[in-house]
Subunit: 460 residues, 2 copies
C-alpha cells in the first residue's frame, strides 16, 4: 500500500473526527460585517490557530487593522511550496426566521434525494471548504509525519466584508507568503459528480453615470415635449450599448479578447451546459448573451456588459408627472483575456458623452477596475491537479472560467507573483449567503481526499 | 359714464378695501394636506361664505367628506348663468426658513424692478385669484345693485390635496351647479403685460411598467452575459418610444391629433417663444421635442411622451455586481385633441409586450387617463372674454393651450356638460407652491377689473 492510500484510508477512518472539528468551528458565529461579532471572529481565528498548531504547523495570528489573519507554516526545503488561502468569516444570517434550525448549531441532514449534508452558516462558504484542506494536511501528518510539499496557510476573517485590509497586509508580508503557487478553496464543482478547476476569472470595469438636464425637477405638463429628460437620455445610452446580436457596441471593446482554443471549446461543448440546467434554476430559459455563442462561453469566456442599477424621477407609489433633473445608472463590464479596463473607460466615456444633449451634462465615476486572470492551459500544476481530481472522482475535472472576480487572486499575482489554482467542492444548491446554507457530506469527504491527492501530485 | 365705467372706477377707489379683505383671507393658514389645519380650512371657508353673503349672495357651506365647499348663488332669470370655480386651500409652507417673512402674515413688497407685489402663501394660488372675481362681483353689486349675469360660485378646499371628494360632490349637486359656462381663475398671463385665455388642456395617459426577468437578483459575475436584465429590457422600451426626430413611435399614436389652424399658428409664431425665454429659466436651451415644430407647439398642441421615473437594481452608494430580478418605469403621455387614452393604452401594451423576452414577464398598470379638453376656437363666450381682456390690458389676449391638466374642468364637462373658460392673472415668477409666493398688485387690480368687464361681456 502506497503512502497516499494510507493517507486516504486515514481520512475515511477519521471522518467522524473531522466532522466534529468542523462543527466546532461552525459553532462560532464569526460574522465579519457586524462589529458586534468581532470577538467571535477572533475566537474562530484562535480556534484555527490552535488546530493548525496541533497538527504541527507553526501557527500564529497576525493583525491587519480589521479581523486577524491566521498564518501557518510548514517548511519543506527543496520541495515546492504552496500558499493556501481561505476565510473563516461568514455572511450574516438574516432573515433568521427562514432558517429551519439555528444557523450556528450545525447538524447533519438528509435531503429528499438521499444526499447527506452539513447544515449551518459557513458549512460551505468557507469553513467547510477550508477544513477539507486542513483535514488533508492532518492526515498526511498523521500517517507520514510530514507534508509532501511546503505549505503556508493564510485564512483571513473579512472576505465577506470586502477584505479591506488584506491587499495591504499581503504586500507587507511578502516574505512570509513566499511560495511557488497559490491554492484557493472557495469555488464550486461542475456538478455533484464532476470536479472543476477554475482556471480563469473575468475582470471588471464599473462605472456610474449621472446625467443632469434641467437645473430642477420640472412639471411634465408644462415642460413635457420641450425639456430634455435624463431618463430618456440614459435609456438611450443603455439601449445603445448592445446591438441586435447581443454584442457590446463600444468601439474597441473586443480588443484583447482571444479565441478559446478549439480543444477547450470541444470540451465545453461536451459538457452540454443547457439553458434548462443553468438558467432554469433562476426562472429563466433563454440565453441573453451574444448570438452564436454557447451558453458556457457567454458566462465564462466572453466579455459582457450589464446595468446593475438605474434610478431617476419619481419612484414612489402611484403617479407624479415630473421630468427629473437627474438620473443615474451603474453600468459594469466583465472582462476577459487582455481587455484593458483603462482603455475601456476611455471608450465608455466617449460613448456616453456622444449621447448627451448639448444643453445637458454628465458625470462619470470610474471605479477601480481589474483585469481578467487566466492560468496558462498548459501549466504543470494545473495538469497535476487535474490528474489528482480525476483519480478521486473517477472522471476528468472540468476546467472552467468563473464569471466572477476573486480579488485576492489578483493580489497574489501582483504582490507575490503567484498563479492561483482554484479548486473547490461547493455545489449550486449550497445556498451560500442565504438561509439554510449547507455543504454536501460528499463534498467535505471527497474534497478532503482530493486535497490529499493534489498535495501529492504537486510534489511530483 | 356707462355702468361699466362706474364699476371700474369703484374698483379703483376701493383698492385698499379689497386688499384688506384679501389680507384677512390670506391670514388664515388653510393648508388642506395637513389634518392639523382642518379647522383653519373651515375658517377660510366660513370667511368666504360670510363675505359672499355680505355682497348679497345666497351663500352656504356644503360638506364633502373632506374640507367643506363654499357655494354661493346669485340668480338672474333670463340672463346667462356662469359657474365660477376656485379654491381657498393653500400649499404647505415648508421649508419655512426660506420665507423672508412669515407666510401667513401678508404684506406689500416692492421688487427690484419696481413692481409692487402681495407676498404671502396663497397670494396668487388661489386666494388672490379668487378674490379678483369676488371683488368684481362686489363692485357690480355696489354700483348696480345686481350682476349682469347669473353667478354660482364654487370654492373648494382640497385642490392642493387632489380634490379627492370633489368629482363625487359635483355629480351629486348637478342641480345647484346648473350653468351655461364655467369660469376658472387658477391660470396665468402670457407675460406681465399680455393677458391669456387657456383654451385647451392636454389629456394624460399614465402607465407603470414592471419587468420581471429572473426569479431572484443574480450575481452579474455568474450570470452576466446569459441572464436577461430587466433594466436593459426597460431601457430598450424607453429608447424605442421616440424616433430620431423626436416623434413618438407607438402605432396609431397620432390618430386624432388635428392640425392647428394656420391663423392660430401665425399668432403663436408672432409670440416668438424662444428657447432662451422658456427653457433658459430652468437651465436648458435646446427644445427636445418633435423636430420641425415650434417650441410653443411642442409644449401646447403636440402630444408627448415622458418617462417620469425609473428604478431597478442597486441604487445605493458605490458598486454592487447585481443583475436585478425586476425593474420598473412610470411612463406618461400628454394627449391633445381627440387622442383616445384607451386606444393608446392598448397600443402601449402591445408595444411593451413585443419587447419583453419570451422568458421574462411584464405587468402594466394603467392609471385613470383623461382626454384633452379644448374650447372651440369660435365659441362666443371665448370671443367675448377676449374682447373684454383686450380692453382692459390694451392688447389682445393670447389663446394658449396648457400642457397640464386641471381635472375639475373634465368633471364640469362630464358631470355638468359645461365648457370652461380659464382666465387667470398669475405670472411665471409668482413662486406658487414655493417659499415667498407673491401676486403682483397689477394682477390683482387689473384682474378684478378684467372680471368686471368679462361679466359684462358675457351678458351681451
Amino acid at each position: 500500500m502506497a503512502a497516499l492510500d494510507h493517507i486516504l484510508a486515514d481520512i475515511d477512518r477519521d471522518l467522524d473526527g473531522s466532522l466534529e472539528r468542523l462543527f466546532a468551528l461552525l459553532r462560532i458565529p464569526s460574522i465579519s460585517t457586524d462589529p458586534a461579532y468581532a470577538a467571535e471572529c477572533r475566537r474562530a481565528a484562535e480556534w484555527l490557530r490552535g488546530d493548525l498548531a496541533a497538527i504541527g504547523f507553526e501557527a500564529s495570528l497576525s493583525e491587519t487593522g480589521g479581523h486577524p489573519v491566521v498564518l501557518a507554516h510548514h517548511q519543506k526545503p527543496g520541495a515546492p511550496h504552496v500558499l493556501f488561502y481561505g476565510h473563516y468569516d461568514v455572511q450574516p444570517v438574516d432573515p433568521l426566521d427562514l432558517w429551519e434550525t439555528p444557523p450556528f448549531e450545525p447538524r447533519m441532514a438528509r435531503l429528499d434525494d438521499g444526499r447527506t449534508v452539513i447544515s449551518a452558516r459557513g458549512a460551505c462558504d468557507d469553513k467547510g471548504q477550508v477544513m477539507t484542506f486542513i483535514e488533508a494536511c492532518r492526515a498526511w501528518k498523521a500517517v507520514e509525519g510530514d507534508l509532501p510539499v511546503g505549505v503556508t496557510i493564510l485564512i483571513e476573517g473579512a472576505e465577506e466584508n470586502g477584505s479591506e485590509h488584506l491587499p495591504e497586509w499581503v504586500a507587507a508580508n511578502r516574505d512570509a507568503l513566499k511560495a511557488d503557487l497559490a491554492l484557493v478553496c472557495d469555488t464550486g464543482m461542475w456538478d455533484r459528480d464532476t470536479p472543476a478547476i477554475t482556471s480563469s476569472l473575468r475582470g471588471l470595469a464599473y462605472f456610474e453615470v449621472f446625467v443632469t438636464c434641467a437645473d430642477r425637477d420640472l412639471h411634465s405638463g408644462l415642460f413635457g415635449g420641450a425639456a430634455a429628460n435624463p431618463i430618456r437620455v440614459l435609456s438611450r445610452i443603455v439601449a445603445d450599448l448592445h446591438d441586435a446580436d447581443g454584442r457590446v457596441t463600444l468601439p474597441g471593446f473586443y480588443d484583447g479578447v482571444r479565441d478559446t482554443p478549439p480543444e477547450v471549446l470541444a470540451q465545453w461543448r461536451d459538457l452540454d451546459l443547457t439553458p434548462e440546467s443553468f438558467l432554469g434554476t433562476v426562472g429563466l430559459s433563454l440565453p441573453a448573451g451574444e448570438r452564436g455563442r454557447m451558453l458556457i462561453e457567454q458566462i465564462q469566456s466572453r466579455p459582457t456588459c450589464d446595468v446593475n442599477g438605474i434610478v431617476g424621477g419619481y419612484t414612489g407609489e402611484g403617479t407624479k408627472t415630473v421630468i427629473a433633473a437627474r438620473a443615474s445608472a451603474k453600468i459594469s463590464f466583465r472582462l476577459v483575456d487582455d481587455q484593458d479596463p483603462e482603455a475601456l473607460a476611455e471608450s465608455f466615456r466617449a460613448f456616453v458623452q456622444a449621447r448627451i444633449p448639448a444643453d445637458c451634462s454628465v458625470e462619470i465615476v470610474t471605479h477601480k477596475g481589474s483585469r481578467a486572470i487566466a492560468l496558462p492551459f498548459d501549466m504543470p500544476a494545473l495538469n497535476a491537479a487535474k490528474a489528482a481530481l480525476a483519480q478521486e472522482w473517477g472522471r476528468a475535472p472540468v476546467t472552467i472560467g468563473s464569471g466572477g472576480s476573486i480579488p485576492i487572486v489578483g493580489d497574489f499575482k501582483r504582490s507575490l507573483g503567484l498563479d492561483t489554482l482554484l479548486v473547490g467542492f461547493g455545489l449550486d444548491d449550497d445556498r451560500v449567503h442565504s438561509p439554510n446554507e449547507k455543504y454536501d457530506l460528499q463534498s467535505f469527504h471527497k474534497g478532503t481526499r482530493s486535497w490529499a491527492r493534489i498535495l501529492a501530485a504537486l510534489a511530483a
